[in-house]
Chain length 261, copies 2
């Protein structure tokens, strides 16, 4: 099977034009089929402030009310996604922007209201690979932002890490999928203040110990849960680190490992 | 050859949720391959006001400075395009949103600065049909907003009427293309205050007379120039009128006719 690289970039790259430009140049040079997934960075928050939209926070997460969803749709699917597409084209990477509504690629359900109402937040229920596969065969690179839809006309805000892992899982039958979470650190760090303390391998066994010893804390937990979910669903390789790990095999990063039965 | 319908909808539909919903339902029922092109309506102007971005007007047209381009990208490619896509999916029309940068489908050049500087306004120089044709073969409906790119990383604001006509021309070798400009009037009117005075046929011959007699004036001229450009480049049918003309053959509208040699 051919290799498919699914690369998620976060706010630290999106917020920094120089870092983004440099990333896009290097990403464009990847020869294997590839999919890019991007978050939104701080731009949506800035836009909400400018438009005087009150941000409702629930347990550290933004509640996606109608106004917030509009802003996210404008910023993620509009400004960020289309500028990335234009820059990829400049670098001879034929890219095409996606939300999950486009081509009906990612269907989600609105997160049920329990004691918490997350608003228009979506949990992925289905990934349709057919359109994407056709495009990949034509050497086109899909670029996803963090939006899905419910098939009933409603766009939904969906975590970009989850979109990346769900895409990787859905393609695992068709490609040897590799999932790369790029962020500002060199990986999961033993000491959060020491970039040299990268934990190079995490498996289900040492994961529990890392949580118990408070090495892996709140911010990192959902990301690692996405990683384990992917590696347990036949994704071949899952890595966390700086984007440089993609282009230079000497750059240290964290690899998530499946425990072999 | 198979028929391809290219439908452009303007501000009157975009600005009116009920009209848009009704249009999308009917558009979704079109069985032949189809492409939708949409303008931006008044939403971009409203957003500019809210964000306190000064709109520079040049001969009745907005100058596209950096801030304006950002707003257009957010509103056209983000909010409007993605909500249309979600609604089309709801109506079982598998749609995929495009700017000209996506799939490198429409390349433009920044309009040269003469005595007027239009800013980031793009004139179309190339339409690449390959990706679109692949999608049409897979029963996917491309939905274009009014943005192109210059292949050098720059997005450009491009008239939606022009995008529609250039797409129709580019596809004329592959399909029997039909181009429909939907707007708030029943077509070109003999008397602008009388909806029953539709001029049903316009050809190059009576066109000049209509201009000389001030029947066709400023606002309509660029639209009709796009129509004649298309009909002279092997587009099979070009119509102007209310969207109902698409779904009901009894609805009066204006048809642009080529003069036969």
């Amino acid at each position: 099977m051919e290799t498919l690289k699914i690369v998620k970039i976060g706010g630290n790259i999106i917020n920094n034009p120089t870092a983004l430009e440099s990333f896009i140049q290097q990403f464009s040079s990847i020869k294997t089929p590839k999919i890019l997934v991007h978050g939104g960075g701080t731009l949506a928050t800035e836009m909400a402030q400018q438009l005087d939209v009150k941000v409702e926070m629930i347990e550290g997460r933004r509640k996606t009310n109608t106004d917030t969803l509009d802003i996210i749709t404008m910023v993620y699917a509009g400004k960020i996604n289309k500028n990335i597409i234009a820059k990829l084209q400049e670098n001879h990477c034929n890219a095409l922007g996606f939300t999950g509504a486009d081509g009906n690629t990612i269907v989600a359900i609105k997160r049920p209201v329990t004691h918490i109402d997350y608003g228009f937040a979506g949990d992925v229920v289905q990934v349709n690979t057919e359109v994407l596969q056709t495009l990949l065969h034509h050497h086109i690179t899909p670029v996803f932002c963090a939006l899905t839809h419910d098939k009933n006309g409603q766009l939904l805000n969906t975590n970009a890490d989850t979109i990346a892992s769900e895409l990787a899982i859905a393609f695992a039958k068709l490609y040897q999928t590799e999932l790369y979470y790029c962020f500002e650190k060199s990986g999961v760090l033993q000491d959060v203040n020491d970039e040299h303390s990268v934990i190079e391998n995490i498996n289900a066994k040492n994961y529990q110990a890392l949580i118990e010893n408070n090495i892996i804390t709140d911010g990192m937990l959902p990301k690692l849960n996405n990683c384990f979910h992917a590696i347990n669903k036949q994704v071949r390789k899952v890595c966390i680190g700086k984007p440089e790990m993609l282009f230079n095999s000497n750059v240290k990063h964290t690899t998530i490992q499946a425990v072999k039965n």
